[in-house]
Amino acid sequence: MSDCVIRPKNNLQLRKLGNSYMIVEVSAENVNMSNVYTLNKTAADMWQLITEGEHTAADLAGWLCSKYDVEPATAQADVEQQLAEWREFGLIF
């Protein structure tokens, strides 16, 4: 999966609220309901990257390594875990 470009679902805007970050999505089943996802700073930065340009999981792992003191294997695993979660929620394809 690490060489596929990650495509976020359309019109999901990252919002900052105080010290937190969130994505608000209208529920597919009921337009009167919304799903609110919270993100930490690193996840929010990662989201920003994939909405602004074309990135693969490997790109993101590289970015994570350049930003934090982390082993490439750990970075890759962390990125994959985050992407799996977003994929499960239908936030990315």
Binding site: N11, R15, L17, G18, N19, M22, V36
Partner: protein, 300 residues
């Protein structure tokens, strides 16, 4: 056809209504009487509505796919896309006479067609105005919120919750147990941010309780209620406050632009207003606990 112009001001937002003579807005829209205003008293001109009144149902065809369909206290509402924006068809639940509204996408220009055989025609006009108002104000740092609101000590307190949770009951308990508390609105107050502060306004829409008060108070707190076997108050901040506030707000879920404005406003409210969730019983302890908790947040 000769028409007469009426101007109303709700939450400082001006609404101009043109009615064909001899129909009288005072009779058709009794709940709007306290909101009748001079153009000079309005700080933001919000929308203009031209009303025509016909004997029969409108000819409705080629409406396209329905965008949203809701049945609530306003009636049976069907919303359709239209080249200028939206078309709304309103009738009582289960059918009956039909009334239509054509609205620009921002809900600032409205053309309403009422069917005069419906004795609820005035109520239907009020509902159209409520619908349009609640969307148009989203562009002005304001939101129409499904809540029961009281005022006490010069501040407003709003109670949210699913239908049947006991919002009105909670308001009544405040009035019984917390001295000098009065009802501001029982169903649909407006929250508006001005100069970085949040204010709650009474409106002409108050559900089953005829409480149409043209007054404004700074917001003392907003609490989402949930029925429970014991009372407990939980302060909400940041995303928690956002999640507590959002479900009570009026928005056309399918409309990206309106939703984005709503999220901006609710996000700001979540940061400037004291917000809580409360598990509660319908008793005096619940309201004294709620009142004390909100006062504590305010002091911090």
């Amino acid at each position: 056809m000769k028409t007469k112009e009426y101007i109303y001001s709700v939450a400082g937002f001006g609404m101009t209504i043109h009615l064909p003579e001899p129909w009288d807005a005072g009779l058709l829209l009794p709940s709007f009487r306290p909101f009748a205003h001079d153009a000079a008293a309005v700080d933001t001109m919000l929308l203009a509505c031209t009303v025509s009144i016909e004997q029969d149902n409108p000819c409705l065809h080629d409406l396209g796919a329905v965008v949203e369909e809701t049945v609530n206290d306003m009636g049976h509402i069907r919303l359709y896309h239209h080249p200028v924006g939206y078309r709304v068809v309103l009738s009582v639940e289960g059918g009956g006479w039909q009334h239509t509204m054509l609205a620009t996408k921002d809900f600032t220009q409205l053309t309403v067609r009422l069917c005069s055989q419906d004795r609820l025609m005035g109520h239907m006009l009020s509902s159209f105005l409520r619908l349009a108002y609640s969307q148009a104000i989203l562009y002005h740092d304001a939101v129409s919120i499904h809540a029961s609101a009281v005022h006490n000590g010069g501040r407003a307190f709003l109670f949210l919750g699913k239908s049947g949770t006991g919002k009105s009951t909670h308001s009544s308990l405040w009035m019984q147990h917390i001295p000098a508390t009065g009802l501001l609105n029982d169903d649909n107050p407006t929250l508006r941010i001005k100069d970085g502060k949040a204010y709650a306004w009474g409106t002409p829409w108050s559900g089953k309780t005829p409480c149409y008060i043209n007054k404004v108070y700074p917001v003392g707190g907003v609490v989402r209620l949930r029925q429970a076997p014991a009372n407990s108050f939980h302060r909400q901040e940041g995303v928690g406050a956002f999640v507590a506030l959002l479900p009570g707000c009026s928005v056309i879920g399918q409309d990206e632009a309106l939703r984005s404005r709503l999220y901006d406003t609710v996000g700001r409210l979540a940061q400037i207003v004291a917000v809580g969730t409360m598990d509660c019983l319908p008793d005096s302890e619940a309201v004294t606990m709620c009142h004390a908790a909100l006062n504590d947040i305010e002091k911090q």
